[in-house]
Assembly symmetry: C2
């Protein structure tokens, strides 16, 4: 039940006092399968760290099609940062796909932490920096790789995702249809035999 503090301590070293302030500004929460942590058009009030469980972050386009923009498993942060930082309606939905426990930092508490424990600003700069670098990688890959190569890369880099999320969600994350992913997998299986 406590992955959170060890995670924070990977980035910075907190004094006992600072740790106490941090503890006072977080909340533990449990979600059931299917429940939403963030909902489209509502303001995202907190950023959530996954203690256990799994979630998907998705977006509904104007035709009502779902597009998965991120997965979340243990030790990942989820939320809609765009909505959080401007306290404006969210573009994304964050939905739990199984019973999920999270640690949440609410907007006001985060601002207070930035003020009272400046080291926290560093943690979040680092978190966002890494998120930004992966987002850019994703853009580049969607430009220059075929669906097949993107799938192979996902298998290599995040095998846990391919195991824990259903195929139609993997397809959506890769930006292709489930039918086409099925076709790719079929082809890869054939190649493996010969």
């Amino acid at each position: 039940m406590d992955r959170f503090l060890p995670y924070i301590n990977k980035h910075i070293q907190l004094t006992p006092t600072e740790e106490a302030i941090l503890q006072a500004n977080i909340k533990y929460k449990n979600y059931l399968k299917g429940q939403y942590i963030v909902q489209n058009d509502e303001i995202c009030r907190c950023h959530s760290f996954i203690e256990s469980g799994k979630v998907r972050t998705f977006y509904l386009d104007k035709n009502g099609n779902e597009h998965i923009v991120a997965f979340g498993i243990e030790e990942w942060w989820v939320g809609d940062i765009g909505s959080l930082i401007t306290q404006s309606p969210a573009d994304f939905n964050v939905q739990c796909l199984e019973k999920t426990q999270v640690v949440q930092i609410y907007y006001e508490n985060l601002q207070r932490l930035y003020r009272d424990v400046p080291k926290i600003e560093r943690v979040f700069r680092l978190i966002i920096q890494n998120a930004y670098v992966s987002a850019q990688k994703r853009i580049v890959r969607n430009f220059s790789l075929t669906a097949r190569d993107r799938y192979l890369l996902l298998l290599e880099e995040y095998p846990a995702f391919v195991q824990r999320f259903p195929q139609y969600m993997i397809a959506s994350y890769l930006g292709i249809t489930k039918e086409f992913l099925s076709q790719i997998r079929n082809q890869l299986a054939k190649e493996a035999k010969s």
Copy 2:
């Protein structure tokens, strides 16, 4: 020649002492048309703020094709953040497309500033946060919009780009060929008439 300090002061308020420390940790530099601020496979040593001029950030895929991942004009930051933060070889190239003046903060100076002027950590958190939000928007759009709609959106949101950068670069930025963009524009022109 001085857009930099006013830009910083939009985000935070510096005391005269802090401002002096900041000034001591930046460098002004001029580039000619065609010169590179960052080069693929070399370590990106600084982050650059554009005072005047224009640049493109691009990536060469394994077939040697260029893919533009970002444009930069006055008051934009450019560089390869992935390379900068880990001090590892850059994936991207940042090239000036005309005479360009920049303010640069070198890696070591940035670390020193984070330590000595903690407010600076806030500025960079904010810069990266915004960059991350736009990167995510871009991922979503590339998934759910057609090339035509992406072009229309670019025209609406950043008309300056469409005016200041040649069409084949705009096409590359949108993730399509120059021929296809030409076709789209042709079609839009026809529609405008009738």
